[in-house]
């Protein structure tokens, strides 16, 4: 576990320094930071909402399926025991 932590941290510290040279730089043509940042944002929101739909869908289904008033509800194996 611990060696992995060190590996990740050291990689995180070396990579940015190595990559600073790689960024493109043509005179007169500038990067639009709005495009980069908002693209990243929308990509992440797409994933976040997808995961959110799965998680909240699961929770809602659980609430509906395993509520005690559901006709299909049956006692759990633990009921009546001293768990």
């Amino acid at each position: 576990m611990l060696p992995w932590v060190f590996l990740v941290v050291s990689a995180a510290m070396i990579l940015p320094a190595a990559a600073a040279f790689a960024a493109g730089d043509e005179p007169g043509e500038y990067l639009d930071r709005r495009v980069v940042i908002w693209n990243l944002f929308f990509k992440m929101m797409t994933v976040a909402f997808t995961v959110g739909a799965v998680v909240s869908g699961t929770i809602i289904w659980l609430i509906w399926r395993f509520r005690e008033s559901n006709p299909k509800a049956k006692p759990t194996p633990y009921e009546g025991t001293d768990w």
Binding site: L15, P16, A19, A20, A22, A23, D25, P27, G28, Y30, L31, D32, R33, R34, V36, I37, W38, N39, L40, K43, M44, V47, V51
Partner: protein
């Protein structure tokens, strides 16, 4: 407890770690791109103080509360403050950096089309923080 298998949890943790790695990698790549300041960017010195912004261009002209820039050029802001912390923000261009006394922070942008945008302070700085606003005028290239 006991009696159930744990592999669904391991799969789940694996998915979470994979997602986090992806988030980190994407964010790192985007940050790398926008951290790189173009060599020919013009420097604008930005000073925040309670409760207005002062801008000094490379040619020595100074503006208070408004900033005029031109389409097609890159600008590098060198941001500092004289009294308390402020945060220089042009939200429409996603420019944001703290103005901290005793420090110079830099951030750059290149305006793409003419227009008028709000400049605001995003770090609490006291009584009139809410109205520490300015205006950015992006103009057609002069030359």
């Amino acid at each position: 407890m006991g009696g159930h298998s744990n592999w669904p949890e391991w799969v789940y943790v694996g998915i979470v770690i994979a997602l986090m790695t992806w988030v980190g990698a994407e964010a790192w790549e985007a940050e790398r791109l926008i951290e790189h300041v173009p060599e020919d960017a013009e420097v604008i010195k930005v000073v925040g103080q309670q409760w207005f912004w002062t801008f000094e261009h490379e040619d020595g002209t100074t503006e208070i509360g408004e900033l005029h820039v031109e389409v097609g050029k890159a600008y590098k802001f060198e941001i500092t403050a004289t009294d308390v912390n402020h945060s220089f923000n042009i939200h429409d261009y996603v420019v944001l950096l703290d103005a901290i006394p005793g420090r110079v922070n830099t951030v750059w942008f290149a305006p793409t089309e003419p227009g008028v945008h709000d400049i605001q302070c995003r770090e609490y700085c006291g009584l009139i923080h809410y109205n520490m606003r300015g205006t950015l005028y992006v103009e057609e290239p002069s030359a």
